[in-house]
Subunit: 244 residues, 2 copies
């Protein structure tokens, strides 16, 4: 039977989503360990988004083929009983046999939070990038407009060896500003390695005035990572939702 | 010169506000260390509320007599530069020479947050008490009504050796409920040792139906801690504001 898992985590303590050979300090590793113990046989899960070390998720989705007599509610309770307190399984449900959390994902939503204002908020410090500068939000919104749409996003990808297509569609970049925070929400059909963090670093540089919004088109066309902005810190990033 | 400090902290890692002889892992100790270094002479600060180990603050107030050439903004920047990232000084200002943060406080506001709903929120786990039970909010509000006003709150005080008056005025207990959280806000002229946490534990027992709201008056009159409810965990409690 194929199961879909909806997962929330505080990524601060972890080496990212994806299981690594030399360490099990990953979200995927933690969940697989508990499921393998439950099923008394190795279980592999597929995550929809391979979040980096330190990146958080409110609505990560994974799927796993498992053989168990437990109900979905029982699997969910078992996982939450044995998982650490910074990982929570929100829901477990049966999925179609061919459902694949990553390959079937139609749209993903990421959110990047930047601490604004003079003071940091100690309660949000692990979920915001501390910037505390005045950014030109109008210029950032203008730049975001140039980035929306279907483009080759190679300039915004850290993986130099990437051989597959780097064409993606960014449906929407929404920038919201409050006294305490600037929040950038990215909705798209898929994201390259570090893409949201490089987009954010580039938009911050536009907000600082060191980069003009009109240069975004040339930046996209250059297909060269070196022309884009810095990679914004992981802690500000959260995978909000995966849509099917 | 006497200075007033407005302070925010995540109390998770600390042994409470008040400096202890055998450990300096307290908020007061951390701030005094930095101020003493800045002034090159020992500085003592007075906090308005002695929050317990694990209790947080959004608006703690302290005062300190110091001899320094620095401006208020410079003192604030110096403190935030050297303090750990879970303590933030929001403001430093000059105060009247006789201003005492605790003795002059007219009113304090504490908030207790209880995680409701089936799932915990991993991002709020350090600031909520995880309960995840259905509580009868109407009964809790009724009980809160009996507790408001001027009473001897000895039944709600952990300090058995307390010799001073335990009469306090609770101006308001407000209980707000969302799908994710029950939030109890206490406004009063002063609070005894553990008082907010015992009030909360007692209200939770009313919400569970194991204690009737009408028994609050007899409980107050008994002046016996043993008759009140459990002491709710520190992590759910935040000192919101001190009013002068």
């Amino acid at each position: 039977m194929n199961y879909r898992l909806d997962i929330q985590y505080d990524g601060t303590r972890y080496g990212g989503w994806q299981k690594q050979k030399d360490t099990d300090n990953t979200i995927q590793g933690k969940i697989e360990d508990v499921l393998s113990r439950m099923c008394e046989t190795p279980v592999t899960i597929q995550g929809a988004g391979r979040t980096d070390a330190g990146v958080h998720a409110r609505g990560q989705v994974a799927n796993a083929h498992m053989d168990t007599d437990k109900s979905c509610e029982e699997i969910c309770a078992y996982l939450n009983h044995y998982l650490p307190e910074d990982i929570e399984i929100l829901q477990v449900r049966q999925a179609a046999e061919r459902f694949h959390s990553r390959l079937n994902a139609r749209e993903k939503v990421y959110q990047y939070r930047i601490a604004a204002g003079f003071h940091k908020n100690v309660f949000e410090r692990k979920y915001q990038c501390p910037l505390h500068e005045n950014l030109d939000i109008d210029a950032m919104r203008e730049a975001a407009g140039f980035l929306e749409g279907t483009h080759d996003f190679k300039s915004f990808c850290s993986n130099k060896k990437m051989k597959k297509s780097s064409i993606r569609t960014l449906h929407c970049i929404e920038i919201q500003e409050t006294e305490q925070e600037i929040c950038i929400t990215y909705t798209g059909d898929g994201f390259l390695y570090n893409m949201v963090r490089i987009l954010t670093g580039t938009l911050i540089e536009v907000g600082r005035g060191v980069r003009k919004s009109e240069t975004m088109t040339a930046l996209l066309e250059s297909c060269d990572r070196k022309n884009a902005g810095f990679t914004a810190p992981a802690r500000g990033l959260t995978l909000l939702e995966v849509r099917y």
